[in-house]
C-alpha cells in the first residue's frame, strides 16, 4: 500500500514538473513571437500617417460604448478623454447601469444633459431604459440611464442605442490615449471584410497623473500590489496576447478596450448576460459564428494603442477581481467545450481553447497541488531541501526572466516608463512577486472553482479611487 502511495506521489510530482516545463516553454515561445511581432509592427508603421484616416471619405464611424456602474469618481475624466479622441466620426454612448452613486448627476452637471425623446431599435433585449439624454454642449455624447443589469446588459443597451457599424467597448474607469481609436481601427480599413475585432494594450493608471482626461505623466505607484499588476499586464498583453495573436489564436479582446464589428456581434445576439466575463464570451461566440459559416476572419491585436485603467490596490479587491476572471474563464470553456480539439474551429479549436483549458484554467490547481505535496513532504520529513531550494530559485528566476522579457517588449513597443529607475522597480517587482503574490493569486484562482461550482455569479464591488487620487499611496 505504502509503495503504491509512494508511486502515486512520485508520478504526480513528475507530472507537475513536466507541466511546469511545458507551460514555461509555451510562455517563452509566446514572448519570442511577441518580440518578432513588435519589431515587425514598428517597421511597418514607420512613416505611416494615422491622420490620413481623416481624409478617407468612407472611413467607418465608431460608437464608443461605456457601461458605467457607480463610476462617479472618475466618469467625467473618462468621458472627457473619450470626447477628445482623434477620430473623424464617432459617438460616445455612456450607459448608466442603475448606479446608486452620483454617476448620472456628475455627468449631467459636467455635460449639461437634457432628456431626449430618442427612439431606438431594441435589437437585443435589455433591462428597461429609464431615459436617453443628449448633451447640449457635446453633440457626440449620448447618455442612457437604465435599470441595473450586469455589464453585458449595459453593453447591449449601448449597442441598441448606438448608430455606427463599429463599436468600441470601453470601461467607465478607463482613459484612452488620443490616437488609440485611429490606430486600432486601421485593421478594419486594411482588411475590412475579414477583420471582426481588434484590441489594444491596457495599462494601469495607478501612479500616473491624469489631467483633462489624458495621462500627462507616467509613473510608478507606491503600492506594491499595483506594481505587481503592472508587470502582470505587461506580460499578459505584450508577451501573451500579442504572441497568441501572431499564431491567430486570439481568444480575448479586453472588455476595457476593444473594437468590434457591430453586425457580427448582433448576429451572435450581443453580449450574454449570464456570462461572468462577457468580453471573452463574446469573442469566442464571434469566432464560433464565423467558423460555422465558413467565413474567413481575423481578430487583430495592436501593440501600440493604449488604454489606461485603474487596478485594485488591496488584496481583498484584487482577489475578488481575479476570482471573477477565473470563474469567467471556466464558464466560457465549459460552455464552449464542443470547440476544444475540434478541427472545425481552426486554430481556436485546436490550439487556443485547449491551451486556455490546460494551462490557464487548470494551471492554478496544479500549482496549488504542488504546494500541497510539498507541505505534505515537510510534514512527513521527506524533503530533499537542497533540491527544493534550488527548484524554488529556478521557478523564481524563470518568472523574473519572463518579466524581464516583458519589460524589454515594453521598451521596444511603447516605451512609456521614462525613468531608468522604473526599470529597476519593475525588475524588483518581478523578483518580489514570486515570494507571496503569485502563490496568493494561485490560491484565489484555484478556490474560484468552488465558487463556480456553487454557482456564484456576482462581480463584487471594485473600490474606485478616481484618477486624481490613483497615484497616491493608500
Amino acid at each position: 500500500m505504502a509503495d503504491i502511495l509512494r508511486l502515486l506521489v512520485t508520478g504526480t510530482e513528475s507530472l507537475i514538473l513536466a507541466y511546469f516545463l511545458l507551460l514555461n516553454t509555451f510562455y517563452f515561445l509566446f514572448n519570442l513571437l511577441s518580440l518578432a511581432g513588435i519589431l515587425r509592427y514598428r517597421r511597418l508603421v514607420t512613416f505611416v500617417r494615422f491622420g490620413e484616416i481623416f481624409r478617407m471619405p468612407i472611413v467607418k464611424p465608431v460608437s464608443v460604448i461605456v457601461p458605467a456602474f457607480n463610476e462617479g469618481k472618475g466618469i467625467v475624466q473618462s468621458i472627457r478623454s473619450l470626447l477628445s479622441l482623434r477620430y473623424p466620426v464617432f459617438e460616445v454612448v455612456v450607459v448608466n447601469d442603475g448606479s446608486t452613486d452620483d454617476t448620472l448627476a456628475r455627468l449631467s452637471e459636467a455635460f449639461d444633459l437634457r432628456l431626449s425623446k430618442a427612439v431606438f431599435r431594441r435589437s437585443v433585449p435589455t433591462q428597461p431604459i429609464r431615459g436617453i439624454y443628449r448633451s447640449a454642449v457635446q453633440p457626440k455624447l449620448i447618455v442612457v440611464d437604465k435599470v441595473n443589469g450586469k455589464k453585458a446588459d449595459a453593453m447591449n443597451a449601448g449597442l441598441n442605442v448606438s448608430r455606427y457599424p463599429l463599436f468600441c467597448a470601453v470601461d467607465g474607469d478607463s482613459v484612452l490615449e488620443q490616437d488609440a481609436l485611429l490606430k486600432t481601427v486601421r485593421p478594419f480599413l486594411e482588411d475590412p471584410e475579414r477583420t471582426i475585432g481588434a484590441g489594444g494594450i491596457i495599462r494601469l493608471s495607478n501612479g500616473c497623473e491624469v489631467r483633462d482626461g489624458q495621462v500627462v505623466r507616467v509613473g510608478m505607484p507606491r503600492n506594491w500590489i499595483a506594481r505587481f499588476q503592472i508587470l502582470e499586464y505587461l506580460r499578459a498583453f505584450l508577451g501573451g496576447r500579442l504572441g497568441m495573436a501572431m499564431m491567430r489564436s486570439t481568444l480575448i479582446v479586453s472588455g476595457a478596450f476593444g473594437i468590434f464589428r457591430k453586425d457580427i456581434a448582433m448576429a451572435c445576439g450581443g453580449y450574454r448576460e449570464a456570462s461572468i466575463t462577457e468580453d471573452l464570451d463574446l469573442v469566442v461566440r464571434m469566432q464560433k459564428h464565423m467558423h460555422e459559416r465558413k467565413k474567413p476572419f481575423r481578430i487583430s491585436f495592436i501593440p501600440d494603442p493604449i488604454c489606461w485603467t485603474e487596478a485594485p490596490e488591496s488584496l481583498k479587491v484584487l482577489a475578488r477581481q481575479r476570482s471573477r476572471w477565473h470563474r469567467g474563464l471556466i464558464q466560457t470553456l465549459v460552455r464552449f467545450r464542443g470547440m476544444i480539439f475540434n478541427p472545425r474551429y481552426g486554430v481556436a479549436g485546436l490550439f487556443a481553447m485547449p491551451f486556455y483549458a490546460v494551462f490557464e484554467m487548470a494551471g492554478p490547481f496544479i500549482e496549488v497541488l504542488g504546494y500541497a505535496l510539498f507541505l505534505g513532504h515537510i510534514a512527513v520529513g521527506r524533503v530533499d531541501y537542497p533540491f527544493a531550494v534550488t527548484f524554488f530559485f529556478v521557478a523564481v528566476f524563470y518568472g523574473t526572466f519572463v518579466s524581464l522579457l516583458a519589460i524589454l517588449l515594453e521598451e521596444l513597443s511603447s516605451h512609456r516608463y521614462p525613468r531608468p529607475r522604473d526599470i529597476l522597480t519593475l525588475t524588483a517587482a518581478g523578483v518580489a512577486e514570486n515570494l507571496f503574490y503569485r502563490q496568493y493569486l494561485s490560491l484565489v484562482r484555484a478556490w474560484s472553482i468552488l465558487d463556480y461550482l456553487k454557482g456564484k455569479n456576482e462581480w463584487g464591488a471594485m473600490e474606485k479611487r478616481g484618477f486624481a487620487k490613483a497615484g497616491q499611496a493608500p
Partner: protein
C-alpha cells in the same frame, strides 16, 4: 540526475536574467544618448530647412541643404515627413529637391529590398515625394504583396496622369482581393478626373462588390455625367447594387431621379426602401412629400427613421408635418419617431 538538471537550470536562468537586465538597461542608456544627439541634429536641420523654405530661390539652397545633411539619413527622413504634413502645394518643391538630392537613390535601391518592411517604408516616402517620371518604379510594385501594392497605388495617385489612372483602374478590375477602403480612398484622391475611367468600368461585367464601389464613387464625387450609368443599376437583381444606386442618386441630385427613387421605395427589400427614402429626403422634391409621409408609417424602423429626417430636411413644412404626426394617436411608432426627430432638431440647434 534531476538535481543536476535543476542546478544547471538555476545557473542558466540566473545568467540569462542578469544579462537581459543589463541589456535592457544598456539599451535604454544608448537610446537616450542617441535621442539626445538626434534631437540636436534635428533642431539644426530644422533651422537650415526653415531658411531654405523662406528663401526666394528653392533649388540651390535646397541642394546645398541636402549635401550638408545627407549623412544623417534617418533624421533627415523624419524631418521631411514631418514638414510634408505641414506644407502643401508649391511650398513642397524644396522638400522634393532635398529628397531627390539626398535620399531618392537609396530609396529606389531599397524598393527592391527582400524585406517587406523596408520596401514599405520607402514606398511611403514616394507617396509624399514622387514625380511623374517615377511612376515606372511604382508600377513595378503593383504586383507586390497587398500592403505594398496599396502604398504604391497611394503614391501613384499623387502623380496621377492618364497612364497611371489607367493602370490603377486596370489593377482594380483585375484585383482578386481588392481592399475597397483603400481603393475608395485612392479614387477619392484622384477626384473628378476619373469620370471616363469610371464610366468605362461601370459598363463592364465586373463582380457586384466592385460595381458597388464604382457606383458609390460616382455619387461621392458628384459625377452627374454618370447619371445614366448609375440609374440603370436601380433595377439590378443584386440588392446591394440597388442600395448603392439609390444612395448615389441621392447625392447626384438630378431632378429626374425622383421617379426612380419613388419606385425604389416599394422595393421588396427594406434596406433598399430605407436608402431610397433617405435619398428622396436629400432631393427635396415637393412632390415626394406624400411618399415620405407614408414611409413614416412603415413597419420598418430604418425606413421610419430616414423618412423622419427626410421630412425634416424640407424645413418648416417638414417640421409642421412631423408635429402633426407626433400628435396623432393611431400609430405610436410613427408618433415616437416624429417626436424624436423634432427633439433632435431642437437639441442640435441649441448645441
Amino acid at each position: 540526475m534531476l538535481s543536476i538538471v535543476v542546478l544547471y537550470s538555476f545557473a542558466y536562468l540566473l545568467l540569462m536574467s542578469a544579462s537581459l537586465f543589463l541589456f535592457i538597461f544598456a539599451r535604454r542608456m544608448v537610446i537616450q544618448a542617441r535621442e539626445r544627439s538626434d534631437r540636436l541634429v534635428y533642431d539644426a536641420m530644422e533651422r537650415d530647412l526653415l531658411e531654405v523654405l523662406t528663401g526666394d530661390d528653392a533649388g540651390g539652397p535646397a541642394r546645398a541643404f541636402a549635401r550638408k545633411h545627407r549623412a544623417r539619413t534617418p533624421v533627415l527622413k523624419r524631418l521631411l515627413v514631418a514638414y510634408r504634413e505641414a506644407l502643401a502645394g508649391r511650398a513642397l518643391e524644396p522638400l522634393r529637391v532635398i529628397f531627390e538630392s539626398s535620399i531618392r537613390a537609396r530609396c529606389l535601391r531599397e524598393l527592391r529590398s527582400p524585406w517587406l518592411a523596408t520596401r514599405l517604408q520607402n514606398v511611403r516616402l514616394f507617396v509624399d515625394f514622387s514625380r511623374p517620371e517615377e511612376a515606372v518604379h511604382l508600377v513595378k510594385l503593383l504586383h507586390d504583396k497587398p500592403v505594398i501594392r496599396l502604398a504604391a497605388l497611394n503614391a501613384l495617385t499623387g502623380i496621377a496622369s492618364q497612364d497611371t489612372m489607367s493602370v490603377i483602374f486596370d489593377l482594380f478590375e483585375n484585383d482578386p482581393e481588392p481592399n475597397f477602403y483603400a481603393y475608395s480612398n485612392i479614387f477619392n484622391s484622384l477626384g473628378q478626373r476619373i469620370e471616363p475611367f469610371l464610366r468605362a468600368s461601370l459598363r463592364k461585367p465586373l463582380p457586384p462588390d466592385k460595381l458597388a464601389l464604382l457606383i458609390e464613387m460616382a455619387g461621392r464625387l458628384l459625377l452627374r455625367g454618370l447619371y445614366r450609368d448609375v440609374v440603370r443599376f436601380a433595377t439590378h437583381a443584386d440588392k446591394e447594387l440597388r442600395i448603392r444606386a439609390a444612395r448615389s442618386l441621392g447625392r447626384l441630385l438630378v431632378p429626374a431621379s425622383s421617379r426612380t427613387l419613388c419606385a425604389l421605395t416599394a422595393d421588396p427589400e427594406w434596406e433598399v426602401q430605407a436608402q431610397a427614402i433617405r435619398s428622396l429626403g436629400n432631393l427635396q422634391d415637393w412632390k415626394t412629400v406624400p411618399v415620405l409621409l407614408k414611409a413614416l408609417f412603415s413597419p420598418n424602423w430604418h425606413v421610419r427613421y430616414n423618412a423622419g429626417y427626410g421630412l425634416a430636411a424640407f424645413g418648416l413644412v417638414g417640421v409642421l408635418q412631423l408635429q402633426e404626426i407626433s400628435r396623432q394617436k393611431e400609430d405610436r411608432f410613427a408618433a415616437d419617431m416624429a417626436a424624436m426627430v423634432l427633439d433632435t432638431l431642437i437639441l442640435t440647434g441649441g448645441a
